[in-house]
Subunit: 732 residues, 2 copies
Amino acid sequence: MYKIFKDLLWWTSHRIGSIFLLRVVLLLLGLLVWTKSNAENGYDLWLRYKPVHETSLKNNYQSVIKQISASGNSASLIAAITELQIGMKGLLNVSLPHVKTVNVNGTLLLGTPSTNAAIARLNLAELKDLGKEGYLIKSLQINRRSCTVIASNTDIGLLYGSYHLLRLIQTRHSIQKLLIVEKPKIQLRVLNHWDNLNGTVERGYAGSSLWDWQRLPGYLDPRYTDYARANASIGINGTVINNVNASAKSLTKTYLLKAAALADVFRPYGIKVYLTARFSAPIEIGGLKTADPLDPEVIKWWKLKVDEIYRYIPDFGGFLVKANSEGQPGPQDYKRSHAEGANMMADALAPHNGVVMWRAFVYENIKGEDRAKQAYQEFKKFDGDFKSNVLLQPKNGPIDFQPREPFHPLFGAMSKTQLMLEFQITQEYLGFATHLVYLAPMFKETLSTDTYAKGKGSTIAKIVEGKLESHQISGIAGVANIGSDINWTGHPFAQSNWYAFGRMAWNPEASPETIADDWLKMTFSTDPSFVVPVKEYMLASREHAVHYMMPLGLNHIMNLGTHYGPGPWDKIPGWNAHDYHLADAEGLGVDRTDKGSNAVEQYFPEVRQKYNDIKSIPPELLLWFHHVPWKYRMPTGKSLWEELVYTYYSGVSAVEKMQNTWDGLKDKVDPLRFVQVKQLLAEQQREAAWWRDGSVLYFQTYSKMPLPQGFKVPAQSLEHYKQIKMPDRTDK
Amino acid sequence: MYKIFKDLLWWTSHRIGSIFLLRVVLLLLGLLVWTKSNAENGYDLWLRYKPVHETSLKNNYQSVIKQISASGNSASLIAAITELQIGMKGLLNVSLPHVKTVNVNGTLLLGTPSTNAAIARLNLAELKDLGKEGYLIKSLQINRRSCTVIASNTDIGLLYGSYHLLRLIQTRHSIQKLLIVEKPKIQLRVLNHWDNLNGTVERGYAGSSLWDWQRLPGYLDPRYTDYARANASIGINGTVINNVNASAKSLTKTYLLKAAALADVFRPYGIKVYLTARFSAPIEIGGLKTADPLDPEVIKWWKLKVDEIYRYIPDFGGFLVKANSEGQPGPQDYKRSHAEGANMMADALAPHNGVVMWRAFVYENIKGEDRAKQAYQEFKKFDGDFKSNVLLQPKNGPIDFQPREPFHPLFGAMSKTQLMLEFQITQEYLGFATHLVYLAPMFKETLSTDTYAKGKGSTIAKIVEGKLESHQISGIAGVANIGSDINWTGHPFAQSNWYAFGRMAWNPEASPETIADDWLKMTFSTDPSFVVPVKEYMLASREHAVHYMMPLGLNHIMNLGTHYGPGPWDKIPGWNAHDYHLADAEGLGVDRTDKGSNAVEQYFPEVRQKYNDIKSIPPELLLWFHHVPWKYRMPTGKSLWEELVYTYYSGVSAVEKMQNTWDGLKDKVDPLRFVQVKQLLAEQQREAAWWRDGSVLYFQTYSKMPLPQGFKVPAQSLEHYKQIKMPDRTDK
């Protein structure tokens, strides 16, 4: 215990300087760190705006930005100017005056052609194609003065451009000779909050819901504004504020007025509020006897309800619906199709320009049915049937946000349907807020995958962007990892997943490496001796997690109750982990080839053939599609059993290396976050070993093969690992 | 909406200085505030340690405290020195060196006689009576150097003394010629957290539970340390970390190891961990068929369980038990008495010096039975039957933490029983985290009440202190208002109730005014033009809340589902608010005199007579004890009806005055908290009017009398107020 206390005391001590504590620190931790800064509690996310210490860079920045010129008084413009002023004050210690005209070198001119005459006079050709959210940042001469222009067609574009300019300084890029032309490639960039009205968050690992339903609308927590700032800074423009496992109560006037208050706070930051719509709401809060989507009374109820919502929230985004999925009500309860259900709601929303985001996550848990095939079977047939303001929302893979899945076969298969990709930012299957797993490489893996729907180059990114089939509306969603924890996301590094989602929603072709680089510099430190090694292990971290959890295409072998820790042996009512891995004396994996469930048939031929053939299947998806003999010779020359063991062990070793790297960076990180991450990495290491040892021992009961030479036998018996109990959300 | 945004932007803008925003602020809010400080998010509570700006005071403090001399390396001593160094750095901008000997004027000498030779040599007579937690702060000469000594018999005493010295500076008292001798008047000063294992907090209004059960014991949130610091600074020495509506799972090894990790963090700060014990745990987690407290297997199970707990937590405090109360299991399920149940657990704990805190909150909801009498009827007969390590824990009043209750008749009635008083710090019935209600005057009201148990002067304070009957153990508990919100308590002013509970637990005779004064200076500002008016309205705030909620002895007329807002008309299964006020055509109130339920009989004669006689009953308890005709002439000359209306209206007016006062203090408060409190006061004003209007209109349906002249008729109908829906914790 004493050690723990000292560790905690250690960061406390860094709030001050002290000879006494110096000795304690030296004694205990063998290393001296000294800082006078306030505790870095993570609240400020990537908007910390800490001073630029590099003198020449700082001088340069100061000479380029000396004052702001802008006209107009929209809330978004004020937000942009405020952010620039806060940011420049922090970064450069300058208070930027706001002036009317460009009268000195170093003016930052901000405006749209329609509201700012100086901008209009520039006749900026670049604005033509920038749409409503794009922006231009350009260095040029006005009245023979050196200026930086942030121009856009809307004030929201100015806000986005302002965050971009700040980011350049935060990441120590030059702000001279700028010519930046940016616009988002996806229109709807949306966070999904699985927040319940009682303040809990389904699959949330960072405290309770941000939304204080009891005190709304009267009390607007200042945190709402900071939430909006953070989202705007990465281009997120929509938020579904309640759980897909929805409560009809969220559509009652009481709650709508509260949602409207949130919308009021978010609006200046370009963020629309969406709600989930419980399909049975006409019964539950409407007093109707049915929720049949073809029933005239039901149609009328939804129309009136939608009209009511728009009275409170004039720019309401629309509905997200989970229907006939995991027990949720839906149109099939009335022998109607998903398309009929979605279109009924879409009709109600269309006059207000609202959309329906209809989830494609449907399956029935029936022995022998391949769950991976079911969404395709259910939805493919409706291609072309959805109204123009419906987006169909499949997850990235066909099962459920597993550490690794092949892409969802609906991508490419529904050319007449607007497909909105759903990622999970919250780490339901990737170590909650305990494991450091940077998800951008996983996002990238999906987005860059080629479906071959229209020949080579038919990437999921292009489909989601709507480019492949020239759709009207495009969208992408991420299940949020945000809660009431001071640092928003529980794990200090989980902030990077929120950040990366926003950046990749704006530009699905963005590089996970660049994003990690930016995030680290903005969130921790610009010191390359910190950024380079940490970035490297962030980029590798998801693969490490796959290795110690579910390597080689394994999936859904976690504890079925908590979704945490290994559970390949797990059975709970309605669920049997064995169905997902089918280990037997012969081998391991699920045959989804044309000899098996033939899930491969749902992919286009190029992909199908690659996955169908054990020779061409990428090893990381092997056991997803094939039941493979234990002695099968892998491309590495190892047998499957050896490869499995090797991969599990390598995942754990990698975490140990992350720990060493982190420990070596002690003098480059603020003490509070250093200790937090150090503790979390230690826990991740222990749990990675738990995953490895439990899984290897379990699969060994089928393979009957010894561990390959050089691999240490797990310290405990399989029984031990099976009996490890973790807290469960159902523990009251 | 625009207004809301600007309000929020206004505080954001104060992070920087800006000519542009100056204009916005002037335009919008008509007042200029300027600060360069970081946002005051409330996380630091009363331990902010902001610089002393008064030059001569600062110089004086700096001359008195120049260095620290201490020996020893216990965790508590290190915690004390660290806190002094953090505090002095913040307050005085000095880094106190730690030296071995007293060699200059201005040495702060810290130690116990047994571990510090310099202290031992002083032969401090004051230490003799200070016990294990008391301390002495004394200015004296050592080696002809002017020193300040903090001395104690234990290192925890040194920590308490250090916080006291810091408080003197925080509140701008002199630290010269000090002679402070302090020891707590109550031994067990305990917070009760009604925190569930799933992270929710029953009756919590400040986010989720602080305890991160999933990541414990591997990850120790740095916040745990700050929680311990805050508690130690006000003398709290125990914490029951889980809900009285208990889960047996909290006693499983999985959770015990997590509790042990918390205990490790808290120990250096003198805080013991306690757990609630579900009476049926032997069945639920022990696999026994019974939980009969006289069953040898059950006795053995508890003994082994307790032994196990002490292996993990050597200084475990003991159990808090809610048995046979509101559906909880208990000894009566087996025809055993509360005493038999408590004593069985006490026997298991006794060898380890643990205690049982057994709640006296029992009642059955039977029409015609006076709930106010039941705890007395149930427990009085067991006086003398409880083991020496049992404390019986009644609430302050006989019903349930209502805005005002008479004192609980068990106080004074059980001279052979150690009575532990239970207050509720969380504002279940006093406006959640929305209403500003300073509870110290309520605590004081109870503590200073004379029971006349042993003649005049038999105050509840003396009973709780154990002085009246010379008990071995004394204790006081407060149901915590702490959660994961950044500012811990939701409402910035709710922090004062946590603070006040600690201070009054240490010294039940402490003055609410002094405590408010200290808290305001430490938490907000030492400026008298801020402190004086705000202190005044803090002190009056509880009476205001009584006035607009439940005046003149009314109680339990809130909404029965949410416990929020008025509900004198409310009926839910098993509950009828009417039973609590019995309004009829004749009058209002519950006759508990000797003509009625005779609850007065449970008090000693002096009190009984005062309460029994409508002429001598204090008006603020009138309707608790008497059914009073609407036309009854009150001491003020008004009829009961007029008085009732007058009081309701005066409560709302008082809140309006609080709003005005606060608005006038804008330039004396940091902008973030100014806006938070401003919004909350506006909401409190609206809700006070809701209480008033709903209640007055409802009671008018019985009195059939018009509002007295000059009182504005409520804007809406009674039906309107009845139908206001508030979010409910059961809303999913």
